[in-house]
Symmetry: C2
Subunit: 206 residues, 2 copies
Amino acid sequence: MVRKTKEDAELTKQRIIDAARAVFLTRGVSRSTLEHIATEATVTRGAVYWHFKNKTDIFYALRDRNFLPLIDRMYDTLGVRSDNIDPLTQIENSLCDTINQLNENTEMRQIYEIMMIKCEYVDEFATVLQQILSNCSNITEKIQMAYERAIEQNLLSTTLPPHALALDTHLFFSGLMHMWVKDADGSRFRHQAKALIQSHIKLRRL
Amino acid sequence: MVRKTKEDAELTKQRIIDAARAVFLTRGVSRSTLEHIATEATVTRGAVYWHFKNKTDIFYALRDRNFLPLIDRMYDTLGVRSDNIDPLTQIENSLCDTINQLNENTEMRQIYEIMMIKCEYVDEFATVLQQILSNCSNITEKIQMAYERAIEQNLLSTTLPPHALALDTHLFFSGLMHMWVKDADGSRFRHQAKALIQSHIKLRRL
DNA sequence: TTATATACAAACAAGAATGTATGTATACTG
DNA sequence: CAGTATACATACATTCTTGTTTGTATATAA
């Protein structure tokens, strides 16, 4: 049984990526071998080497497929200029939506866990961190724009500049994401994540 | 040249821990071998195996020596009940002090970097995460107590419960620490870390 | 002073993991 | 329908890494 059709080949490629996600999650990226991944995908290392250059290549494929979409989604929900929803609520909704995504989408939850606590950012992986930082900057900018609209509409209880507010919100949410991921049993943060977001926004609402 | 005095032996043990910190930092924990560490400490693996059971053992020794003190210090500076300094300023000072520590103390800066982005929390390392979460709970409790005092003294601009305020502050600072570590060149977060802390506190001051 | 435990260095053995090279059945192309 | 490229499986060679074992000079205890 060899030489599948193109669709079959693409399917096994996706199966390998899925397998990598499962293996990375349980063994961490470094300790995961191509043999592990191949076995999990019920193929041999031959197939893996056919589709990917090496483990790093798989990691990047996994990130592109499962991680970046979540970033994009957050970026988009923050960006839309709505007239019938105030900017503070928009920020709140956007953050809650991301938490919802993590709750509902197993793949995204796992990919976050991998990237946050099961990957060492050295050598070939160091650049990933910078890309994440870059994404964060974009998100923060969007949040800042929302706060600027909130100021225009006189919604804020504070006179802090939108730049400071945006960074504070971003850091809050960044911390929440980290804790959400680490709180595997859900007892500390996951169960009250949305309440925390609401409090955070409420704090600056007039 | 063998069989040093007890003091000498303890010295080489510390040298090995220092070497491990350096090697972990540049290669990540997983990719660091005992050979790397031994060479960095200018000893052989024989010495390493004499003082430590394995790499995990070294990691824990490193954490106990360099990481836990910072936690304790933060816990302490938050805990002292001062009469001539208001609780909000106390929180602010405590957070700033931690940032100062990171700026001034190379070892602490490196150990944080290792534990945040150069270590995979699987298997033997998984428990470390839970211990960190536990530490975080303690810190949050202390922050909450400070906010309770702030309420008593009518210092707050918000009616949010101290529990929510404490978690918001903790998450903010958690995010700040993560970003501080990742922002290696200092252009994004490190240079304005203290200003961000001040803004965060100012937001809730009456 | 002698015996013993200490603090390593050096050598050894075994298993992983990687990358590559080779084999091969079959989809597809001309 | 023959030839070729594809999509893998299998086999191989090499390099790392680990843990253990052995050796040994010397501080220290008796």
